[in-house]
């Protein structure tokens, strides 16, 4: 009991010692502990505009739920949990006030409304921070919880701002504050007009909220402001539609590049060799697991070089999976040439074995594959559209692989021999080409590319035993749609399917969109049974 007496004594002593101005601050802090929310809000505003450098810390403490009321004398203090109860500190002087039991203090309650208010206010107070990032974050906080008390600080911040993008955000925040709090319709109208330059879903929500009908007319009473809001809304919508289009296009190209990576190896084995490799998806999966193993080695032995792990994983996947492919060709597929349906069954069996083998070795759950530093993050565009770096890199990678493959087939002796064997096996053999070796190498090449695709897919998909299953139907669709035996067809097929899929998604939903695409391909194949780019001549008959 004597503890409280002491606390009370100290309080009284402090009370007497303070000057008139300090007294006012004391009152404000004390008012934070009031029962009514309205009183707390008033106290927050008063503190914010007091210009006292301690105000920020106190408001932050209130937001962090460190502000307590001592039950005995109603004094507002900082309290931090200790072993037996709470360690008390004076909010203004920072003086330690001793320890009290858990039941002797009561937390100053902060409801959702207050929390928003606090965030906005704190945001306003950090608007003048020397850090550009902090200022930008503060501006966004103000935008989300507009508050008239901040307006003078905001004006000051805009005046002093040198960074153009931060200034934009500050102006956006000021417009929001003016719209929400200004009593003059001309100010509100000007603010609404300012917002027209921001193509942003949040701004759109704010402007649209003005046009909502309320009990007596509209949320925004003034006709001129509403007219301005309607116009601004139209501008923003047009902007957002444009950016969404760009975003969709990017998403579509990204999906297309993934499909291209998955299908391009198949275009070699199925398109060029005529071998239906149902284990193709598993080749992709093995590539992804190669990435996992390479990254594990990096994690354990060269943690500093983790960012370069993919540079090692790509050739490793190509070599390992390519070698597996050659083994498959020599061990199984060469006995089945000319019997495409049997090849299909045997490779399906192989895919089951590979899946189960991976499940046995690495376990049935997904394994963690990390993104290197340079693949994380995104380019933020207006209208809430973001282009993630990993997807951008995958588009680039797919195009590089495609170009490399084209050059290999068109410009190298190996490519020449591959084409020769494909077009006329007997003649190629008579010319001295070892057809068996070329078969094995071609199949290995297709599988190796699938392995590299696995490295790329490990960056955006879950690496698990079923990774390949998800791509097999899609890859076959791409190859068949594009036209068997034509790599340009595969490129066009993958891009078309990716973009169409992503443009259908907003209207039909992801699953229905996919179903529609599948049905469309099935119908398309009826019209052009050999795909977009069909090989002409007698070769197609077999």
């Amino acid at each position: 009991m004597h503890l409280f007496a002491r606390v009370a004594l100290v309080a009284v002593a402090l009370w007497l010692a303070t000057a008139a101005n300090a007294e006012a601050i004391e009152d404000m802090v004390q008012a934070l502990g009031a029962k009514e929310s309205a009183e707390k809000i008033a106290a927050i505003d008063a503190l914010a505009s007091s210009g006292d450098e301690r105000a920020l810390g106190i408001l932050q403490a209130m937001l962090d739920r460190r502000l307590f009321r001592v039950k005995a004398d109603d004094r507002v203090v900082f309290a931090d949990k200790s072993d037996g109860g709470y360690q008390l500190t004076d909010p203004l002087t920072g003086e330690a006030l001793g320890e009290v039991g858990r039941r002797d203090v009561k937390k100053v309650s902060v409801n959702n409304k207050l929390r928003g208010k606090l965030r906005g206010t704190i945001g306003g107070m950090t608007l003048l921070s020397p850090e550009a990032e902090a200022r930008a974050a503060a501006a966004d906080a103000v935008f989300k919880t507009p508050n008239a008390a901040i307006l003078p600080i905001l004006d000051q911040a805009i005046e002093a701002e040198t960074d153009a993008s931060v200034r934009d955000r500050l102006e956006r925040a000021r417009a929001a504050v003016q719209i929400e709090t200004s009593k003059e319709s001309a100010v509100r109208q000007a603010a609404v007009e300012t917002l027209a330059q921001f193509t942003d879903p949040d701004v759109r929500t704010l402007v649209a909220s003005l046009l909502v009908a309320s009990d007596d007319g509209f949320v925004e009473a003034d006709d001129a402001v509403r007219a301005a809001a309607t116009e601004t809304l139209a501008t923003i919508d047009a902007g957002i539609a444009r950016w969404t289009l760009i975003g969709n296009l990017f998403q579509g190209l990204s999906l297309g590049s993934v499909l291209l990576l998955a299908a391009i190896g198949l275009a070699i084995t199925f398109g060029v060799m005529g071998v239906i490799n149902m284990a193709h998806g598993e080749m992709v999966m093995l590539g992804a697991y190669t990435t996992f193993v390479v990254q594990e080695i990096f994690r354990n032995h060269f943690p500093g070089g983790f960012d370069y792990s993919l540079a090692v994983a790509i050739p490793a996947a190509f070599v390992i999976v390519g070698a597996i492919g050659i083994a498959i060709e020599r061990g199984i597929i060469r006995f089945l040439y000319g019997r495409p349906l049997e090849t299909l069954l045997a490779t399906w069996g192989l895919s089951l074995i590979l899946q189960q083998a991976v499940r046995t070795i690495f376990g049935p759950t997904n394994r963690e594959v990390g993104n290197p530093e340079w693949m994380t993050g995104a380019i933020e565009l207006a209208g809430g559209v973001a282009l993630t770096y990993n997807r951008i890199w995958i588009i680039v990678f797919a195009l590089v692989v495609f170009a490399g493959l084209m050059i290999l087939l068109a410009r190298t002796p190996l490519g020449l021999q591959m084409r020769a064997v494909t077009q006329n096996r007997a003649m190629a053999s008579a010319m001295g080409i070892r057809t068996g070796t070329i078969d094995a190498l071609t199949f290995g090449l297709g599988c190796g590319i699938a392995g590299m695709a696995g490295v790329a897919l490990s960056q955006i998909d879950n690496v698990g035993p079923n990774l390949g299953q998800g791509y097999i139907v899609d890859s076959f669709m791409v190859v068949v749609f594009g036209g068997v035996g034509n790599l340009w067809g595969t490129l066009l097929g993958a891009t078309t399917l990716g973009v169409v899929n992503k443009f259908l998604e907003p209207y039909a939903g992801a699953v229905l969109g996919k179903i529609l695409v599948l049905v469309a391909i099935i119908l398309f194949i009826q019209k052009r049974p050999r795909g977009l780019f069909a090989l002409k001549g007698r070769a197609v008959e077999n």
Binding site: I332, L344, L345, G349, Q356, T360, M477, L518, I525, P529
Partner: protein, 381 residues
């Protein structure tokens, strides 16, 4: 060409077919007796769960028969036959759902539980009529048949053949898989249709009903076999084999190849649908998983293991592989996929004619006789 003369049915069966039918009839009679009449304590008693398991095998056998009919005799490799099986199953499942009536969890006399759960106000139009058993049975044949007709008509007319056709059928079953997973399709989404109570007033849990369903499956398989056998030994069957072995030549001889293919494809889909309809009440559930492309490919391997182009080989393969599956998934679950995968590779490379072909080859080796009359199977696909 010689006009096909009338041949008695038994003669058309051939030795293998006759043995198969005899075994099937014996099993159809013996299992119910061993289950119902032999006391539980006896060593010869067949427990009810086994009866249902055998019934399930028979449904798979009918499904394999339907695939053999098109693959073995007409060279059409369908990787989407599971879709027809599942559609038949769903048609039957919808009837069984309506049969539950107000005994469901929510007690709604009209709406199945999952619709009540999704807050649906009334029955979707495509559920009308399924409370009637005869209508449901009609749909079991009609729905897969219609899908096969439309799909086949489009595909065969534009001469989508071989591998392309296989991949398209796979896309078809994949699209259906995705569609049936959707809750708003009105087929129970992910969970499918289940919690069935009775069929035609017989309790589905009762051993008598189980035996009845088993016998019905055996009869369906028997008739399916007789019909298929009749078909492939008829003139039409010879045209089918001709299409399989030399499609272009058959067309040049004046046959409308696409009509023959369409006919046998639709018939096969209907058989698969019937198999699905008999399967659902015996296992008590039908869900979108039945549409998965992997299931359809597995059916093909049953046929390949047994030996295609023999009909009874397909039945044998279905039962062998499924028995092995039951055994391995129970005893060594981790090994099952290795075994199944190995089976695919081994059979395609070393036993292109399946078990039946291997046995025939062995017999020929042991007892070299005068050249056998034309066998049914051929190796090209």
């Amino acid at each position: 060409m010689v006009r096909a003369t009338y041949t008695p049915l038994l003669a058309r069966l051939g030795t293998g077919g006759t043995i198969f039918l005899a075994v099937l009839i014996a099993a159809a009679i013996a299992v119910p007796i061993l289950n119902q009449a032999v006391p539980v304590t006896s060593a010869f008693h067949v427990p009810t769960y086994l009866v249902s398991l055998f019934g399930k095998y028979l449904c798979f056998a009918l499904l394999a028969l339907s695939v053999d009919l098109i693959w073995g005799y007409c060279g059409i490799l369908s990787l989407g036959h599971g879709a027809f099986f599942a559609l038949g199953g769903y048609a039957m499942g919808m009837h069984l759902m309506r049969e539950i009536g107000d005994r469901g969890v929510y007690g709604n006399p009209v709406l199945p539980d999952f619709m009540v759960f999704l807050d649906w106000a009334e029955l979707p139009w495509y559920w009308y009529g399924f409370d009637n058993f005869a209508f449901a049975i009609l749909m079991v044949a009609l729905v897969p048949g219609t899908l096969a007709f439309v799909f086949g008509w489009l595909a065969f007319r534009s001469r989508v053949t071989g591998v392309y056709f296989s991949i398209m059928t796979q896309a078809m079953t994949f699209a259906l898989l995705l569609a049936f997973f959707r809750n708003d399709m009105g087929f129970g989404g992910n969970n499918g249709l289940t919690d069935f109570k009775d069929v035609l007033g017989f309790d589905l849990q009762a051993s008598g009903t189980r035996v009845g369903l088993y016998v019905a499956s055996a009869i369906a398989l028997g008739f399916g076999f007789l019909l298929s056998r009749y078909l492939v030994t008829s003139r039409l069957g010879r045209v089918l084999v001709a299409v399989r072995d030399a499609e272009s030549r058959t067309r040049f001889l004046g046959y409308r190849v696409e009509y023959y293919k369409l006919f046998v494809f639709v018939l096969s889909a209907v058989l698969a649908g019937i198999a699905g309809a008999l399967y659902v009440p015996q296992v008590g559930i039908i869900n979108p998983g039945e549409f998965s492309p992997a299931n359809s490919i597995e059916i093909v391997i049953w046929v390949a293991v047994g030996g295609r182009g023999t009909l009874y080989g397909a039945v044998l393969g279905a039962i062998l592989v499924n028995y092995a599956k039951s055994y391995f998934t129970g005893a060594l679950p981790d090994l099952w996929l290795f075994v199944l995968g190995g089976l695919f590779i081994f059979v395609t490379i070393f036993m292109p004619k399946g078990v039946v072909g291997a046995v025939t080859a062995l017999k020929d080796k042991v007892k070299p006789v005068a050249p056998r009359p034309a066998t049914q199977g051929a190796s090209s696909g």
